[in-house]
Symmetry: C2
Subunit: 259 residues, 2 copies
């Protein structure tokens, strides 16, 4: 049976989602908790390889188990063995062809800035401060240019080794909430470090250091050095992963399904 | 000169605002940071004696200094010496008669519940879980009965030694935000543990364990045992403290003023 897990974590203490040789990753603690529960450590595949310090509200992962397990017992059993900064929010049975990363059709990330003069410690662990006078209008103008299918090489961290740097941004907008500014961005996929490089570049636009229209030129395969800096990890959250129900060409039910 | 500080802190690691003999309190770390900055530790008086684990977004405190200090330097200088879970958000000069606690005319607290089946680790450090089916209508009916001037003895923790248990609740409402339920409550003052006992009692109403109308009977000096349990500290935040501009009887400017 293939099972699908929805996970949330504070990334502060982790080297990211993916197992690392010399640091603790979220994937590892999830696999170890499943091992404690089931007596055998299954491989857990995540939809998004979140970087060190990045949080998740709706990471999705899949695993294959020999037998059937009761879903409520799976959720509460794994949570019993997980540290308190990682939680399974939900579990479901998935179709045999379901793959958390390959079946995903879209992901949504959020990134939180604040224009407060001093950040409250209730927010500072997951928020990055910007100047109160930052030009949100210019940032919104630049953000609109991201929508569509583009070559995001200028926004990809080295080490990603992306053979195919083209991605489609389906939606991107800034929510303006008192001192807070939150970017919500939805795409069919993201290169390594892409959201954070986008934010770093948009903040430069907001500071008047590059024109909003300059974003268009960056979306045609320019090198990483052409874009702005990579914004800090602590303000980035993987909010959700989408899976469309796909139908096999001729019929009613089909390959990758979830929930 | 009397100075007024607006402070925010994560209360998780502290024994509350007020100095304790065998535990670290927020008041102590603020006084010590001021001591590092000024070479002499002044006494800092807070508006609200928040309990162990309770957070603040807008605590107010005052202190008296021999000379004058530049306000920006005071904010950034104290923050330099404070741990990252305590921050001075703003500083101002206050009138000679200003007293953070005695001059306060109102305080606002928030308390955050969640109806999620499993709490996200992004929220769990400052949220308390309740059953998804909790009866918010009944809780709102009970909450409305709190408005006005009442004897809150039934909602006061022992050890508070309140000579005068009457307080006026100026506003109280539940904000319903997806899985989250947030109580916002404004009063001219609060007895020790009062907001948390109110929440514990309202949750019992939401669970059908006591009628909404039962709150009225509790507001006439009944003992603590008549009300519900004290809800956990981690979901309580002192949001703000209000100071009305008071004019001296005959004139234009007067006693307690701030900002």
């Amino acid at each position: 049976m293939v099972y699908r897990l929805t996970l949330s974590y504070r990334g502060t203490a982790y080297a990211g989602w993916q197992r690392q040789p010399n640091a603790i990753a979220v994937q590892q603690v999830v696999e170890e908790a499943l091992g404690e529960l089931l007596g055998r450590e299954p491989a857990v595949v995540g939809a998004g390889r979140t970087d060190a310090g990045v949080h998740a509200r709706g990471q999705v992962a899949h695993l294959e188990l020999g037998g059937e397990v009761e879903l409520r017992a799976l959720v509460h059993g794994v949570n019993h063995y997980l540290p308190e900064d990682v939680r399974v929010l939900a579990a479901g049975a998935a179709g045999a062809g379901f793959h958390a990363r390959k079946s995903a059709t879209a992901k949504e990330y959020s990134y939180r800035l604040s224009r407060a003069a001093v950040l409250s410690p209730l927010d500072s662990w997951r928020t990055v401060r910007v100047e109160p006078g930052i030009d949100l209008g210019a940032m919104r103008e630049a953000t609109a240019l991201l929508i569509g299918r583009h070559d995001f090489t200028a926004f990809a961290l080295a080490g990603g080794a992306h053979r195919q740097p083209r991605r489609t941004i389906l939606a991107a907008e800034w929510i303006d909430r008192e001192a807070e500014l939150e970017l919500r961005i939805v795409g069919d996929g993201f290169l390594r470090g892409m959201v954070r490089s986008i934010v770093g570049t948009l903040v430069e636009v907001g500071r008047g250091r590059r024109p909003a229209s300059g974003i268009a030129a960056l979306l045609s395969g320019q090198p990483r050095s052409a874009a702005g800096p990579t914004a800090p990890a602590r303000a980035l959250v993987l909010e959700r992963v989408d899976y469309d129900v796909r139908r096999s060409p001729g019929g009613v039910s089909g390959g990758a399904r979830a929930e």
